[in-house]
């Protein structure tokens, strides 16, 4: 089996982008029983549209039902799981034994174990596999050698995080947010209190004039991908259901090309082009997490200013008229006639041109694209397809 590239999506548009830019499967949150409550979660109708779109492309949709439920949250679980089954969902991702057992008992849904259960060893993997779970999403706290040895001991499919935000604690074992903000981290309300700045004190006195933080750099595992493929990992997971369209397209496309290149050539001689590509989407510093061993200071974030929103993504192609060479696009960031623009195609290719003609919806020439989501017509000297992205060079 080819390794799966699994991407996140917070809405239907992002889901389609993820699949078009190279993901083999996408995980999404429904409107019930899912973490990431602030992600724009999917209705059952959306989920049906998602699975239909994905299955036409022979790709898969997984739905997260990964909260740690309280007594009051159990009602409606069976009905919801059955509704997911009728929407042709390929698997659910869960942590609660109740949700897992109800899925196994009342549906034919495949069940994947969420990282919220913090599976870090082969015994825990055996436990859940024996329980009827086909795939285990490992905790992030393992290095690549530990992952490889673990895989050699199990028949369960193993999924590993390769990119995105890192929970600083063992996932699921943290209640900082519950305590500090009353928002339940394990029921979708995490306030990311671990990313705040603190003063570290001893006997009431500060031990440093610098601020302490538990914040981590994001995970980025480009250089570990060949090892993980050869280790027998079944699915490589990108995190970030709340990330932007451009982020998802760029990250998915980069890993897609890397995986394909490795599968074709058996090696990656130079990771730099992939890294440069990823940096077009990154707005947080990144590192390899636990994959090379216990993270040290170089994996920590002590400077909040490291988060810089990217202004590269300036538009999304809706259609293209080959006769007139006019593309209809939706504006996403400020740009002007005269800019050098890169077209980022869903197949990962990039082409560059200089913008010399742009008109608004009324057909009137405009020099500047300044309104978010404004529909514009621009001249592009080569064919572009829907969902191709425009980047400022």
């Amino acid at each position: 089996m080819m390794i799966e590239l699994l991407a996140p999506a917070g809405d239907l548009e992002k889901l389609k982008i993820a699949l078009m830019y190279g993901a083999d499967a996408v995980f999404i949150g429904g409107q019930n029983f899912s973490l990431r409550a602030r992600a724009s979660n999917f209705t059952l109708n959306d989920i049906l549209e998602a699975t239909t779109f994905a299955h036409e492309k022979h790709k898969k949709i997984y739905v997260t039902t990964n909260i740690i439920p309280h007594n009051e949250d159990l009602e409606g679980v069976i009905e919801y799981l059955q509704a997911l089954e009728t929407r042709n969902v390929d698997a659910i991702i869960s942590a609660s034994p109740f949700i897992i057992d109800m899925a196994l008992k009342h549906t034919k849904l495949e069940v994947h174990l969420s990282t919220q259960q913090s599976a870090t060893n082969s015994e825990a993997v055996h436990f859940w596999h024996d329980h009827g779970i086909t795939r285990i999403v490992l905790a992030r706290e393992l290095d690549k050698h530990q992952i490889k040895r673990l895989i050699s001991k199990t028949d369960a499919d193993i999924e590993v995080f390769i990119h995105g935000g890192m929970c600083m604690s063992y996932s699921g074992r943290c209640s900082l947010s519950n305590n500090m903000t009353d928002r339940d981290a394990n029921r979708g309300g995490c306030a990311h209190s671990c990313r705040w700045s603190y003063e570290l004190t001893q006997d009431g006195k500060s031990v440093s004039d610098q601020m302490f933080s538990m914040s981590s750099k994001d995970l980025e595992a480009l250089e570990q991908i060949p090892f993980l493929i050869e280790a027998g990992v079944k699915s490589l997971k990108i995190e970030g259901r709340m990330k932007s369209l451009h982020y998802i397209a760029t990250v998915v496309s980069t890993y897609r090309r890397l995986i394909d290149a490795f599968n074709q050539n058996g090696e990656i001689k130079d990771f730099n082009p992939y890294l440069i590509e990823l940096q077009k989407a990154e707005n947080r510093l990144a590192s390899h997490g636990y994959l090379e061993g216990l993270p040290g200071v170089e994996q920590q974030l002590y400077d909040k200013k490291s988060e810089q929103p990217s202004q590269l993504f300036i538009g999304l192609v809706q259609s293209y008229d080959e006769k007139t060479q006019i593309a209809t696009i939706e504006q996403r960031n400020y740009f002007e006639v005269g800019y050098e623009i890169e077209i980022f195609h869903p197949n990962g290719n990039e082409e560059t041109f200089t913008l010399n003609y742009m008109s608004d919806e009324k057909g009137e020439f405009t020099q500047v694209a300044r309104h978010p989501q404004q529909i514009l017509h621009i001249k592009v000297p080569f064919p572009v397809e829907p969902y191709a992205m425009l980047r400022k060079k």
Binding site: A37, I68, P69, H70, N71, D73, S96, P97, F98, Q117, S118, A119, T120, N121, E123, A124, V125, F127, W128, E141, L142, Q146, L150, M168, S169, Y170, R173, C174, S175, L176, N178, N179, M180, R183, D184, N186, R187, G188, G189, S193, S197, Y198, E199, L200, T201, Q202, G204, V207, S208, Q210, F212, S213, M214, S216, L294, G296, V297, Q299, Q300, Y302
Partner: protein
């Protein structure tokens, strides 16, 4: 309802035994957030003492393990007179499965800290013949009682102490000391706190031990006012004296044993240890979904 307590000094066990029904002990190769890491020899000595005093002794092995650590854990368990312990507290289902295969299921007490938040999940190991499970700390008193009413094995609960609210495998203080280019003289110290700019009244105890870094609630959970409600459901109530001392454990145990809120004594304790008591999540529902 039996009272279990942590402790700092072996010589204090006898006086604590007047009020405690049993004790928790661990070694930092396998346990975490311990008052003290006891050597194998010390653990065996304490086992003899608790046997003589006719008290329970629970072995705390609540780290989350990788495969290599599980191998070491198995060897260590095999070296101990394990059947003489009252139970083994684990936080990891891998550790549970290992012990189960060693024929020790009846000793297992599962404590995954945050995960046991409903009656079904609390009981999901019932057909594996384990001894009991710790109920989550972040649920209401009503939920605790509801789960207790439906329990299929013994219910354990942290009844008093600074509740842990964060467990990272990373050595976060060591990393910070690297960042500030200072020597880390703070590893395993129990006098550190972190203070958030907007919550200066709530300094949170922080502990870096061999297993990682842990952050605790600022206030001390007290369930002294709810013992009559809890005792019908909770089998073992834990008094956690981490960050305090054995005098603290003694004072608190005495009050819990008497099942009586002694306001004067409570004030003395609060003043001496400069601490605030509250009722944790007993009456505080967390927000399921954030709006906005």
């Amino acid at each position: 309802m039996k009272l279990l307590s942590t402790f700092y000094k072996v010589e204090d066990i006898e006086k604590l035994s007047v009020y405690a029904d049993g004790f928790l002990i661990g070694n930092d190769d396998f346990g975490t957030r311990l008052t003290k890491s006891y050597s194998t020899k010390e653990i065996q000595e304490v086992l003899k003492i608790t046997k003589r005093l006719n008290k329970s002794l629970y072995l705390v092995c609540n780290q989350i393990f990788n495969d290599d650590q599980l191998v070491n854990f198995k060897s260590w368990i095999e070296k101990l007179p394990i059947l003489e312990f009252s139970g083994i507290v684990v936080a990891d289902l891998g550790a549970y499965r290992l012990l189960d295969h060693m024929g020790l299921s009846e000793l297992i007490v599962y404590n995954p800290e945050t995960l046991m938040t409903n009656a079904y999940d609390f009981n999901f190991l019932a057909h594996f013949n384990i001894q009991g499970v710790f109920v989550a700390k972040e649920i209401t008193l009503e939920d605790v009682i509801y789960i207790g009413d439906k329990k299929k094995y013994k219910m354990f609960m942290i009844g008093h102490g600074h509740l842990n609210m964060f467990y990272s495998k990373r050595q976060l203080i060591d990393n910070f000391m690297d960042f500030t280019e200072s020597e880390n003289v703070y590893h395993n110290r129990q006098d550190l706190k972190i203070v958030e700019e907007n919550r200066k009244e709530d300094p949170y105890p922080i502990l870096e031990d061999q297993a990682g870094t842990h952050v605790f609630r600022s206030q001390v959970l007290s369930s002294i006012n709810h013992l009559s409600a809890l005792k019908g459901f909770v089998d073992y109530l834990v008094i956690d004296s981490l960050f305090k001392d054995d005098d603290y454990a003694l004072s608190v145990l005495k009050m819990y044993k008497a099942e009586k809120e002694d306001l004067e004594q409570i004030q003395l304790i609060k003043n001496k240890y400069q601490e605030v008591w509250d009722e944790g999540f007993f009456y505080k529902k967390t927000i399921y979904k954030h709006k906005g």
